[in-house]
């Protein structure tokens, strides 16, 4: 049965070899440009996704989904119109093009001549990826791995009220063509695996979770060490179950590596996207080559690290990925930019045009974003604090329209006289990027990345956050 499910799940690939998509796309681009558009961009997508949930010792949900769609974007001057549709027929795509043109006061005409010279040879980023879906774990393997995970939680945990394991596989084939000669194809494969537990003892409760994710590694789930993951989670829960609530105030904090990088992602990374420059909502808009952070801070966004959740061979505008140094020794070097960002702000594209799917226009978004390693050991950071907070595990966070950020601490410890002491819960870190970046005064030498999801103007995308252990000299800690 498992094999049958996989067999029916093999999606219809783009018919690239016989050239049918090539001709259809050229026709659309030609007609769009003949109507007077400065640029026409087509994003065609097919997807094949699978979600599996294990609770306690049972598989409780298997959710396959497949889809298709197109996003058509037309630029005229600094304006653009964007239309998405699930209808990939010629009539459906033409209707979408007409609607996008009409948004800019343009109309197709058989009499107008196109200056479009045709698409070049396809830039195929997917040539080695055709078999990825078939190489991914079977449903039987997936369910077995998840049940092994929840079983390991049971073996290592105490006072467990709920155990969950979840798996998601997102396969996406994309074809991007634009009237500037862009013509590119890629296949992406993202897999995530999560473990969560809720421990309860009387009035004491602790819920903790971890999520692991990779891209472009069909075999990854097979390498998963369920016992190590479960042990890590159970140890956290055991420490947090009887933790006190953190006292509120302003403290020095040490943020752990891996998902601790969410602070930089939320506090600063979003403000270095050209979408924020366009809106006038970043305080860093005119500060390129100016110091915006402590000199201990070098920050990078890139899409190249093998297997990392935010890595992309090409962005959703068909541009090859790259490594972008955002901040070097505290000095702002670069913004993340997409096609519209370059058009409207002048910041050159960085291969950062990303979107959740065809229903969203691409926007400048982060990929693998991290603070680079520094010279210190994590112990040196903690030893430098008399009274503060160690944030071992972070929850989610967000940044508001004026640059205020906040994020939850899932697992925290007091720092007393340079040593870790009792666990605390209920902490929220709040502040503003402009104030906090100069206060990151020490970076350790243990950089690690962690998978996550980022929701913003172009939907929810796969990213990694990362950092070594870092010390923030003072930050507001919400608690009670």
């Amino acid at each position: 049965m498992t094999q049958a499910l996989l067999a029916t799940a093999v999606p219809v690939a783009f018919d690239l070899h016989e050239g049918s998509w090539h001709g259809r796309l050229e026709s659309l681009l030609s007609q769009g440009q003949a109507a007077g558009a400065d640029l026409v961009e087509l994003f065609i997508e097919r997807s094949d996704n699978l979600g599996v949930l294990a609770e306690q010792d049972t598989i409780t949900n298997v959710s396959p989904a497949f889809g298709m769609g197109a996003g058509i974007r037309v630029f005229l001057g600094h304006r653009d119109g964007f239309v998405s549709t699930n209808d990939l027929s010629d009539a459906g795509l033409l209707a979408a093009l007409d609607q996008a043109l009409a948004m800019l006061g343009l109309q197709r005409s058989v009499q107008s001549l196109s200056h479009f010279n045709g698409l070049p040879a396809l830039r195929d980023f997917a040539s080695e990826k055709r078999d990825w879906l078939a190489q991914s774990p079977t449903l039987a393997e997936t369910t077995e791995a998840l049940l092994r995970g929840t079983d390991q939680l049971q073996r290592h945990g105490q006072h467990l009220q709920s155990r969950r394991g979840s798996y998601a596989r997102n396969w996406q084939a994309v074809l991007v063509a634009a009237s500037d000669g862009t013509f590119a194809h890629d296949i992406r494969l993202h897999q995530t695996l999560g473990l969560n537990l809720l421990a309860a003892d009387g009035e004491h409760r602790a819920s903790v979770g971890r999520r692991y994710g990779t891209t472009d590694r069909p075999d990854d789930l097979r390498q998963w060490d369920a016992e190590a993951a479960a042990l890590d989670l159970c140890q956290s829960a055991g420490r947090m179950l009887y933790a006190d609530y953190v006292e509120a105030g302003q403290f020095p904090v040490v943020l752990a590596n891996r998902f601790g990088g969410v602070i930089f992602h939320e506090a600063c990374g979003h403000l270095l996207e050209t979408t924020q420059v366009e809106r006038g909502t970043t305080p860093f808009a005119d500060q390129v080559e100016q110091p915006i952070a402590h000199e201990a801070v070098t920050a990078i966004d890139e899409g190249l690290t093998g297997g990392a959740f935010g890595s992309i061979a090409m962005d959703d505008e068909g541009m090859a990925s790259q490594r972008t140094v955002l901040i070097e020794n505290g000095v702002l070097k670069r913004f993340l930019s997409d096609r519209a960002g370059e058009l409207r702000t002048g910041h050159p594209r960085t291969g950062s045009g990303r979107r959740q799917n065809h229903a969203f226009a691409a926007a400048s978004r982060m990929r693998n974003t991290f603070i680079a390693a520094g010279p210190h050991s994590p112990e040196q950071l903690i030893a430098s604090i008399d009274h503060g907070l160690y944030c071992k595990s972070m929850g989610g966070g967000s940044v508001g329209p004026t640059g205020q950020f906040n994020f939850a601490v899932e697992e925290g410890y007091r720092i007393e006289n340079g040593q870790l002491s009792s666990p605390v819960k209920g902490a929220t870190l709040i502040g503003e990027a402009k104030d906090v970046m100069p206060r990151i005064s020490m970076c350790a030498n243990d950089l690690e990345l962690a998978a996550g999801f980022c929701g913003s103007v172009s939907g929810s995308i796969f990213v990694t956050v990362g950092q070594p252990h870092i010390k923030v000299d003072s930050i507001t800690v919400g608690g009670r």
Partner: protein
Amino acid sequence: MDATLDAQALRTRLEALAAQEGIGQWDLGAACSTDTSVQVDRGEAKQLKGAQRRSITLRAWNAAGLVGITSTSDLSEAGLARALIGAHEASAFGNAAETPAFSPLATEPLPTLNQPLREQRSILDLLDTLKEAERDLIGRHDAIATVPYNGLAQRSSERIYLNSDGACRQQQLTTASLYLYARAEQVGRKPRSSGAVRVAYGADDLDITGCIDEAAERTIAHLDYAPINTGYYTCVFSPEAFLDLIGAFSSLFNARAILDGISLSHKDSIGEQLAVPFLSIHDNGLHPANIGALSFDGEGTPTSRLCLLEGGVLRNFLHSEATARAFGAQPTGHAGLGAKVSVGPDWFEIGPTPGVASGEQGLDRFASRGHSAAGERGLVVIESLSALHAGVKASQGSFSLPFDGWLLRHGEQRSIESATVAGDIRQLLQGIVGFEGQPKITPSGLCPWVWVDHLSITGEA
């Protein structure tokens, strides 16, 4: 272009495919929509968007009675066939311990909703309207230079539920929404931002002036700000903020969450005194002010008004077909559609319990001498909460959330620069002092201002 689905044609295709595959029991939820939206930036079009969406979710039961599911946006003959076969194959992994069935109410009469279907306006009309609204808002105060988050959108949609026992539900709807979030900046001061939202059945019905007035008033009111001292305060939640908080902790009322062991409630919690005796909460998706109300849920169960808390006592849970069966109750019209069916609230009515003294009387946060509960510290008014996805631990009952609001002290109101409010939802529900004013209609429910004693506020003073 209006979105349409042909329920009869879908049924005919599904029946033929199911017969061909030997599938005796199936159901489906389908939806389609046409959307247009605009955003502007200082008098210029920023983005114009259109979308045509179609989707279908199919469930199939196998000979062993287990259920599988598949979703797709491909409504072609091939797509439909693949979805049905996929669902049937996935049923091999169905949960034998809890298999959903058809709702026993899936063929009961539906409530009649007064939902006028409005003509969709041209996108260029929407653009002109939004440009005018932005210009008006920027003109309200010198400090308001931009409206960085704005949008005017309209949607025409249709949804269907069908099952192999003959149930057929169909609903068409049009909606429109406007949001305006202004940014105000004064020399030497931090930027401040606030805004307002309106929803209606069509773009012509939107209260645009009201939205501009509210966005301007709220943004300007936050220009004069100061930090607040960390400590415990009596807090006054706006209707919007209190509804957001109750929504974030709705697992208290959710039978699915109870069965999953992630709710603070238990199967036998009905009858427990969860809150002060003068608080009542109903879920009422049918309220006339609920723009976009659904007449049936994902399983075809009719939407209905349900008492959750009465006199502070837990009276009912939200149910799907499967959870209702497990609890010996009836489905309540709050289900999604899945192999494991999710459950969620529609639209809350929160307010005093009829016939019960509604806490302290005469509460008025603007009264010249404040309220005795405020003490020397003053009252904290919580206008809006942020980051609920990160700051609420629903399974633990705790929250720690950033908010926008004011400190009312000695008759003076001042915006709070930056702060969080933290607490435990069960203590909060027992710490309600009373209500102020009449319940206000908001997009997510109906609620008066709510006074709560002794909440932890963290500020930056």
